[in-house]
């Protein structure tokens, strides 16, 4: 089974969940990232996701391994979609199963924050009057070492 995927097709949420169902798990959390119409008051028409696919799959797998090491008995599965996505389309699905529920929430949250730190996937916003790769703003944090630094989780 492929637990970590980059997909050009719509994501089957149930299929991602099914990967982490286990007899020893009492809790499964999922995070479903959907395309939101309004960001910072601007109206998005659609998004375009691009990935360095081979590396992205490896980084998703690394995140899963980190989770399974940090939370005892945890199992993760992640699928991220790329290409053009319209409003309410599902961009990412993270499923995490654990024996106890507190861990399922924490581990899942960890996964989405790590995705936003280390997985080579980029999002371009398209509006009525323009388009821009997200993260290409002037205020973007620099990476002086050439590698991502540990940082606080942000919104």
């Amino acid at each position: 089974m492929t637990f970590y995927e980059i997909s050009k097709e719509p994501i089957n949420i149930q299929a991602v969940i099914d990967k982490v169902v286990r007899r020893e798990a009492g809790a499964i959390t999922t995070f479903i990232g959907t395309v939101r119409e309004l960001t910072g008051g601007k109206k998005t028409l659609f998004l375009e996701y691009q990935a360095y696919e081979a590396m992205a799959v490896k980084k998703l797998a690394q995140i899963g391994a980190e989770i399974e090491q940090r939370w005892s008995g945890a199992k993760a599965a992640i699928t991220h979609r790329i290409g053009r996505l319209d409003i309410t389309d599902v961009a990412v699905v993270i499923a995490v199963s654990t024996p106890h529920r507190a861990d399922a929430y924490e581990a899942n949250r960890y996964a989405i924050e790590r995705i936003k730190e280390i997985v080579p996937i980029w999002k371009k916003e398209h509006w009525e009057n323009g388009e821009e790769w997200v993260g290409n703003q002037l205020e973007t944090a620099a990476y002086p070492s050439g590698k991502p630094e540990a940082g606080d989780f942000d919104e």
Binding site: G33, Y49, Q50, A51, Y52, A54, M55, A56, K58, H80, A91, V92, I112, I115, K116, E117, I118, V119, P120, I121, W122, K123, K124, W133, V134, G135, N136, L138, T140, A141, A142, Y143, P144, S145, G146, K147, P148
Partner: protein, 77 residues
């Protein structure tokens, strides 16, 4: 030879998904500086580098055949 991949706004600026260059013996920082000059790449201080699908520090030395990718700030999720 080395394949160098571009993504997001860097791909738009360069106009190619990748280029082939001979970068063996150079450090990551040296290659980035050359590419920045050649293509007038913006804000490379925010751009990470991957070598063979793993993040690589600026002082890493490139060998023949290594696949290099310039990784702008990621925005998945």
């Amino acid at each position: 030879m080395n394949k160098v991949l571009f993504f997001a706004h860097l791909r738009d600026v360069v106009g190619e998904e990748f280029i082939m260059v001979d970068a063996s013996g150079k450090t990551v920082a040296e290659l980035k500086a050359e590419l920045a000059a050649k293509y007038d790449l913006p804000r490379l201080e925010t751009v990470m580098t991957a070598m063979n699908e793993e993040f690589a520090p600026n002082d890493e030395v490139i060998r023949d055949g290594d696949e290099i990718a310039l990784i702008p700030p990621v925005s998945g999720g």
